[in-house]
């Protein structure tokens, strides 16, 4: 058997770099520690290395972009790579967070020579601007360990590959810390030296699992693998290092996703008639755009035009930090389908979404709102028309709201005449310095000469305004 392993040394960073027009130095950091994990090539050039303290890295590269690792995101991302790799190889094993293993023996029949296969993969990686270290091995573990050390050679010579494994330094063998420490204390440095010791003695002195691990590397013990099954849908995500504020700014990073989709559809020999584009925001809830084509389609160029039109009509409600393109509906080439406005053949939740997005598409996004109270002392900020999805992280609203007129004017109007009678007040409101919309006002309720019961205030300049009407 021959195995081929792809190790992505900085997958998350490659992924982020795809959406950047000018590359920037970036590293990943675990959210719990201050240690640098992955380093992009640009940061490497400036001396940043994996394992460094973040403080040191920042001293070397003050403008360093810092990305927090997130195992779910990374697992999704790895699967995203498996999806396209599936076009080349049927037996793929996922090694999250950063590796993919291919069974290569069967592929050799297809590609005839190993260099041909190797080159095909290299090209596919290069077109996606991804860095991966490839390595062949006679066992899955051997291929993996060699790839992680970037020691891979394009060779299917079993003798050479076996010798390469023997030379592996022990810390690179994937053993636990404890057995590693013990082996080091025995003066052993390479896998070959350990392999030369009598296995029984070794198992007695180290844990049996340690021996098993070593034997699996060497191919002396079976190491069953579980192949990955591709999902029946297309989904790709792009994350932005810098938030995108203009909808036009989404088109550039969208292009590779659509290319990927076209390639996928070609490979499936299928078309689609609806794309789902989800925009993720930092504080806002995410926004789903449902985009329908006039008929079954697979060309990226056609999709991009549609999306462009769609986005032009939709100003962004908030800066976008990530975007997902999803296709779940695949049609055999050449089918036509009837159009149903409410989407009766969809599930109700999806139908609701479709209705909303259609109404929004027709009426404009701002047309659909719902009312909500908001904890803020400023009357004009004490309520809000939120989007349709409830917002996250709201400050609690007090149980006893202060007396406020039911009818609050959209904007305060100058008071024309002195009121006839002052009924209550002043209530002083001074708040909101933090968002540049500070108010400093004394409110009164008063009966105007017109007989209306008004809520009036005087601002810090001494000007009088009507802000609302009581019943």
């Amino acid at each position: 058997m021959l195995w081929l392993y792809l190790h992505f040394p900085h997958l998350l960073l490659d992924h982020l770099a795809r959406s950047q027009e000018t590359p920037a130095a970036m590293v990943t950091v675990a959210s719990t520690s201050q240690q640098v994990l992955q380093v992009c090539p640009l940061a490497q050039q400036q001396g940043v290395q994996a394992g460094m303290r973040l403080k040191t890295a920042l001293a070397l590269t003050p403008e360093l972009g810092i990305v927090h690792t997130n195992s779910t995101r990374e697992a999704e991302l790895l699967e995203q790579q498996a999806c396209w790799l599936y076009h080349y190889a049927a037996q793929i094993v996922l090694y999250p967070p950063e590796g993919l293993l291919l069974e290569a023996s069967s592929l050799l029949r297809l590609y005839r020579t190993l260099p041909a296969l190797w080159q095909t993969l290299e090209n596919a990686l290069a077109s996606r601007r991804l860095t991966a270290w490839l390595a062949c091995g006679i066992t899955p573990k051997a291929a993996r360990l060699l790839a992680r050390q970037n020691l891979g050679q394009c060779s299917d010579d079993h003798t050479l590959l076996a010798a390469q494994v023997q030379e592996l330094p022990l810390p690179a063998t994937g053993l636990e810390t404890r057995p590693l420490e013990r082996l080091a204390r025995l003066g052993l440095t390479r896998l070959g030296e350990v392999a030369a010791l009598p296995p029984r003695e070794l198992a007695r002195r180290l844990a049996p699992e340690t021996l098993a691990h070593i034997q699996q590397i060497l191919g002396q013990r079976p190491d069953p693998q579980h192949c990955w099954q591709p999902p029946h849908r297309f989904q790709q995500r792009v994350d932005f290092m810098q938030e995108v504020e203009q909808s036009q700014g989404l088109l550039f990073p969208l292009q590779p996703l659509l290319n990927e989709l076209e390639e996928d559809l070609l490979w499936r020999q299928e078309d689609t008639d609806r794309l789902q584009l989800t925009l993720h925001h930092r504080d806002h809830s995410q926004q789903a755009l449902s985009i329908r084509t006039a008929g079954p389609e697979h060309r990226a160029s056609a999709f991009v035009e549609l999306v462009r039109l769609h986005l032009e009509r939709q100003p962004l409600p908030a800066p976008v930090i990530a975007m997902t393109l999803t296709v779940t509906r695949f049609l055999p080439r050449g089918t036509t389908i009837s159009r149903d406005l409410l989407g009766e053949n969809e599930d109700p939740k999806e139908a609701w979404q479709t209705l909303i997005s259609r109404l929004q598409a027709r009426l404009g996004r701002g047309a659909l709102r719902q009312l909500e109270p908001q904890a803020d002392h400023r009357p004009e900020k004490a309520w809000t028309t939120a989007g349709l999805q409830p917002q996250r992280r709201k400050p609690p609203v007090t149980q006893n709201p202060p007396p406020r007129p039911l009818w609050l004017l959209p904007s305060p109007q100058p008071l024309q005449q002195p009121p006839q009678t002052w009924l209550s007040g002043p209530e002083r409101i001074s708040s909101g310095w933090w968002d540049g919309e500070r108010v400093q006002r004394d409110y009164y309720s008063a009966l105007l000469t017109s007989g209306q019961l008004a809520w009036v205030y005087r601002d810090d300049q001494g000007h009088w305004f009507v802000h609302g009407w009581f019943g």
Partner: protein, 1052 residues
């Protein structure tokens, strides 16, 4: 018309009050208030500061505290302010606070209705903050009011506050109703949270932080407006009916507690004085006893006179109990053989010398006691006592047991906002991304101007809003120096005759069984209370251990007193910069100063200790001093007064005391002004500022006929001291320990290093560096070995036949230093001790023998094998370890079988450890190695061609280009040397000092910051014996020593 504000929170109600106590006090004065009550929540921590500001002013300070009692029936908490009517009431208030604080964990309090009922408060007044109608109905509010009123029969009011917020009218209506039902008066209060309305943004930020949220998300938890400030009387007149305002004045009049009374009635425990003696008499008696011990041949007349003068001054100021207390603590330490040494303003007196508090001999130094206790300043004497760091806890326990927990507690340290924490917290409140804030903090240049700051904030994307960037900067500036919480002082004890909790509230500290009072050392000082500092000092442990070793060798006790003073050979050693391990003068900067200053007597050491500090360096005093030392006759003084202050330091102010005294004699400062200057200097690094004194200082000097240049120079020098000046009274005590440790190093090197190594961690150098230094001083160091080592390092006699040392006059250089098992990483202390205790005469025969006799675990044995400590039992550490591992799977099978090691399993082909591997393993498990230095190995392998070692550099002419290489053992970027990085390299012959200028550092950040083995091309510079390499090209050679575990000490 006037007014008394009776509910006012300072920033000692943490994350609530937005003004310092003194700001509130000053504003109340400016507005013409008749009185101001500082009523922090369950605390009187802000009171001393407000008192310092109001002591001699027409505004009366009322002392009180605000409480919230947990309600009994799910209703709102019962909120009220308790005001102290008199000293008794103040004591009751403190007791109540103490009870609330002691019942809760650090930083919080808990009081129930029962607590209040059981607590006498008959000398206090109560101001009830009745709940709002939306919180509670009339009936239950009335019941609460009745209950509270019953407890404060002496004085009970309902407060009414008008802040113009929504719902105020119904609340006032409720208050009127309650008052008429309870037949009590209503008093106007302001619920003050800040001194000025401008502080509202900060108050909002504090509220958000208290609720762990951002201002934007804080919603209705923020106040609706900024009316909770000290409002002008005209405004109050409009808002409150006159009766309510009058009531505030009436209440203030009834409160007659004057904090100064605390000082007058504050007493030290009297039980220190045996019956039949007065305190003064007893102190005299003890001093006399000490005199006989100190001066067996009779006290010299000059000293007698000095003692009489000091005793008279102590009696006049009634400080006897203070001295007796310190004497008692020191006496206890002596009885337990705990080494200690006093320092500070009163410590270096003839009386303290006689009492054994200090070893600084009054004959040896001409330290005037009066310089330390000032009659007119009225400040309390300050004595810090250092104890061996490993045994200080015994002393603390003694104090608790001797005086009782009700009479002794630690002083507090107020933890304040520093630039970093201020930026972090304000950033948090404004909702900035925490990662970006951290990044901003890492890249920040603290010396930047305000506009650059704003630019940095915008550049780092913390916010896009320019106005918020400005706001952020202002808020950070404002919050700097704000108290965050109370922590325990490192060792400052307050001891009192009466229950401490009647003097000041006591609360829980983070450490179990520790309690702290609510005041810090400045508060204590301003109220005239005394504290005793019980501090820990590692060097005292090392000295005591070294003396014990020497005593054991001699067969007779050797003490500090037996060490011969002013030995020129000791000074010779110091002058050559040979000071690794010596107290205080071992740092790189000190080591470079030694050959320049060339200390030749005790007082030179006092100066040496004080001069290598940021204060004198920033005030530019080092070079003038060194220049004058070269020709002292050229020094002139403007007048005799100044001569008196500066003569002992050749006209250059070096000590903090001199800076203060100068302000008095050169600028005519009064004692009070000088005292304020001293406090400002102490606080300067956090929030103090010397600019207010500039005018007075300069004008004072000009008026006294000094030139403007002189005045400016002096002002600059005084500024240099701000916060960083070292007091002479402390330097004097430290200098003694410098001398003692240097003497030990010179005459008893093995004992000296052994004592140091057994007291680790302490000092500036790692065990590895100390051992290398020991070997360079011809001390034979023997490896860790289970058949020779104990847990601690010990001295062994060398077989004299093999000795080739020319050690005729040095008595115990024949001893060699045997490294102890304490160096072995992963070995537990008990196991290490058992190895020494259970070892048979003939030594352990095998690892099995060792395992059984010393009852070692597999883990212990593995640690020992890894450290090479089984060398006498096995051929090499790899084989030893292989055999050890055999046992780990079935230890049960081997119990009872002896000599299993005599039939080992067939040998396996393990590599024989080479020198490099052994070296790495040594560093890995011991942190040091006695084998050849890694640099020697690399040099032999031809890796370091053209590199000179530290010894060879001594022969190079200055100005020559050289190449050096070494392990990086230190990187420092001192604030006093703009942008320069000092790197210390270690090779097999010693240390090499490398200087990297800012431009060089910027170009070569990577090798500078990350290399563990560094190669440097540079120019050699030399001043006397001090050699520096001015770095040009830096090269990272770390790959040559991969996995070599040498820690660099980074100070960045």
């Amino acid at each position: 018309m006037s007014y008394a504000e009776l509910t006012c929170f300072s920033n000692f109600t943490f994350l609530t009050g937005a003004s310092h106590p003194h700001e509130l006090a000053e504003r109340a004065l400016a507005l013409g208030y008749q009185a101001l009550a500082i009523t922090d929540e369950c605390s009187v921590a802000g009171m001393p500061r407000a008192w310092a500001a109001l002591r001699d002013s027409p505004v009366k300070l009322v002392t009180g505290s605000y409480f919230e009692l947990a309600s009994r029936d799910d209703g709102p908490p019962v909120r009220f302010v308790v005001l102290a009517r008199n000293r008794l009431g103040y004591g009751q208030l403190c007791q109540l606070i103490t009870q609330g604080r002691r019942q809760a964990s650090k930083g919080s309090y808990h009081l129930s209705g029962d607590d209040l009922e059981q607590h006498p408060l008959d000398h206090c007044l109560c101001l009830w903050h009745a709940p709002h109608p939306r919180e509670a109905d009339f009936k239950s509010s009335l019941a609460t009011g009745r209950w509270l009123q019953a407890h404060f029969s002496q004085g009970f009011w309902i407060t009414a506050t008008r802040t113009l917020e929504a719902g105020e009218e119904s609340h006032l209506e409720r208050i009127r109703n309650l008052a008429s039902n309870l037949r009590c008066a209503i008093v106007a209060t302001g619920q003050v949270h800040m001194h000025s309305r401008d502080c509202q943004p900060l108050q909002d930020v504090l509220t958000a932080l208290r609720h762990n949220t951002t201002v934007e998300q804080a919603g209705h938890r923020l106040f609706q407006n900024g009316e909770r400030y000290l409002r002008p009387l005209a405004v109050l007149e409009r808002l409150y009916p006159e009766t309510w305002r009058q009531e505030s004045l009436r209440i203030a009049e009834r409160c007659d507690f004057n904090p100064d009374i605390l000082k007058e009635e504050y007493r030290y425990p009297a039980n220190l004085v045996p019956p039949g003696y007065g305190a003064s008499q007893y102190l005299q008696h003890l001093t006399r006893e000490g005199e006989q011990r100190r001066f067996p041949d009779g006290t010299p007349p000059a000293i007698q006179a000095l003692i009489r003068k000091e005793l008279a001054l102590i009696a006049e100021l009634e400080y006897e109990h203070y001295f007796l207390t310190i004497h008692d603590i020191v006496r206890f330490a002596r009885s337990r053989h705990i080494l200690c040494q006093g320092r500070g303003s009163a410590a270096n007196s003839a009386v303290c010398y006689c009492l054994g508090i200090t070893e600084v001999d009054p004959r040896q130094v001409d330290l005037l006691f009066e310089r330390f206790i000032s009659r007119d300043r009225g400040e309390p004497p300050d004595i810090d006592v250092d104890f061996e760091h490993e045994r200080r806890e015994e002393v603390i326990q003694y104090i608790y047991q001797r005086y009782g927990r009700d009479h002794a507690a630690l002083a507090a340290t107020v933890i304040r906002y520093r630039p970093r924490s201020a930026i972090r917290d304000v950033g948090k409140a404004l909702g900035f991304d925490p990662i970006l804030v951290e990044q901003f903090l890492n890249g920040i240049d603290w010396r930047d101007t305000e506009s650059n700051w704003r630019q940095q904030i915008l550049d780092k994307n913390l916010t896009r809003n320019r106005r918020i960037a400005d706001q952020f900067f202002k808020l950070v500036q404002r919050i700097l120096g704000f108290p965050r919480h109370l922590s325990q002082h490192v060792g400052g004890f307050v001891i009192s005759a009466g229950p401490l909790a009647e003097l000041v509230p006591v609360e829980n500290a983070a450490m179990a069984e520790r309690t702290v009072i609510q005041w810090d050392k400045d508060d204590l000082e301003s109220l005239g209370l005394m504290k005793v500092d019980v501090l820990a000092l590692g060097m005292l442990s090392a000295i005591r251990k070294a003396l014990a070793l020497i005593s054991a060798r001699r067969g007779a006790p050797v003490t500090l007193q037996d060490i011969e003073r002013e030995d020129p050979k000791v000074y010779d050693m110091l002058q050559s910069g040979d000071s690794i391990g010596v107290f205080q003068v071992e740092s790189r900067a000190q080591m470079n100063m030694l050959p320049r200053l060339r200390p030749a007597c005790y007082y030179d050491l006092v100066i040496q200790v004080a001069i290598v500090r940021p204060g004198p360096i920033q005030g530019d005093m080092v070079h003038p001093y060194l220049k004058r030392r070269a020709c002292p006759e050229a020094v002139t003084y403007p007048n005799d007064d100044i001569r008196q202050v500066l003569e002992r330091t050749l006209g250059v102010p070096i000590f903090q005391e001199q800076a203060i005294k100068l302000a008095m004699v050169a600028a005519g400062f009064s004692a009070g002004q000088a005292d304020r200057l001293r406090r400002a200097m102490a606080a300067w690094k956090s929030d103090g500022d010397l600019t207010p004194f500039r005018g007075a200082l300069i004008e004072g000097m000009l008026a006294r006929g000094h030139s403007e240049a002189f005045a400016e120079r002096l002002y600059k020098q005084i500024c240099g001291f701000g916060g960083y000046g070292f007091p002479e009274s402390h330097a004097a005590s430290f200098a003694l320990l410098v001398y003692v440790s240097a003497w030990l190093k010179h005459y008893h090197a093995p004992a000296f290093y052994c004592g140091l190594l057994n007291s680790q961690p302490m000092g500036f150098y790692s065990p590895s560096q100390l051992v290398q230094d020991a070997r360079r001083h011809q001390v034979t160091v023997l490896p860790v070995d289970v058949n020779h080592s104990d847990w601690d390092h010990v001295l062994e006699s060398i077989n004299l036949e093999n000795t080739t040392l020319e050690s005729t006059n040095l008595e115990d250089t024949n001893d060699s230093l045997r490294l102890g098992l304490r160096l072995v990483k992963g070995l537990c202390r008990e196991a290490g001790r058992r190895i020494g205790q259970q070892r048979p005469e003939s030594g352990y025969r095998s690892t099995t023998d060792l395992r059984q006799r010393a009852e070692l675990s597999q883990r212990d044995l593995e640690a020992l094998a890894g450290a090479g400590a089984l060398a006498s039992l096995s051929s090499n550490r790899h084989q030893a370890y292989w055999q050890l591992l055999e046992h780990q799977l079935a230890p049960g099978l081997l119990l009872g079988t002896t000599g299993a090691d005599d039939h080992p399993t067939p040998p396996v082909p393990l590599p024989v450890p080479n020198e490099g591997q052994n070296l790495l393993a040594d560093y890995h498990s011991l942190g040091l190695s006695l084998r050849r230095h890694p640099l020697a190995l690399l040099r032999e392998q031809g890796h370091l061609k053209h590199c000179l070692n530290a010894e060879q550099l001594l022969a190079v002419e200055p100005g020559r280009p050289v190449q050096v290489a070494g392990l990086v053992t230190g990187r420092q970027r001192p604030g006093s040397a703009a942008g320069v990085t000092f790197v210390t390299l270690e090779d097999e012959t010693g240390n090499i000092n490398v200087v990297v200028w800012l431009a060089t550092a910027r170009r070569q950040r990577k090798p500078l910051l990350t290399a563990r083995l560094l190669h440097v091309k540079g120019i050699l510079e030399r001043e006397g014996d001090i050699i520096h390499i001015m770095a040009g090209k830096l090269n990272d050679l770390s790959h040559l020593i991969e996995n070599l575990n040498v820690q660099s000490r980074d100070f960045q």
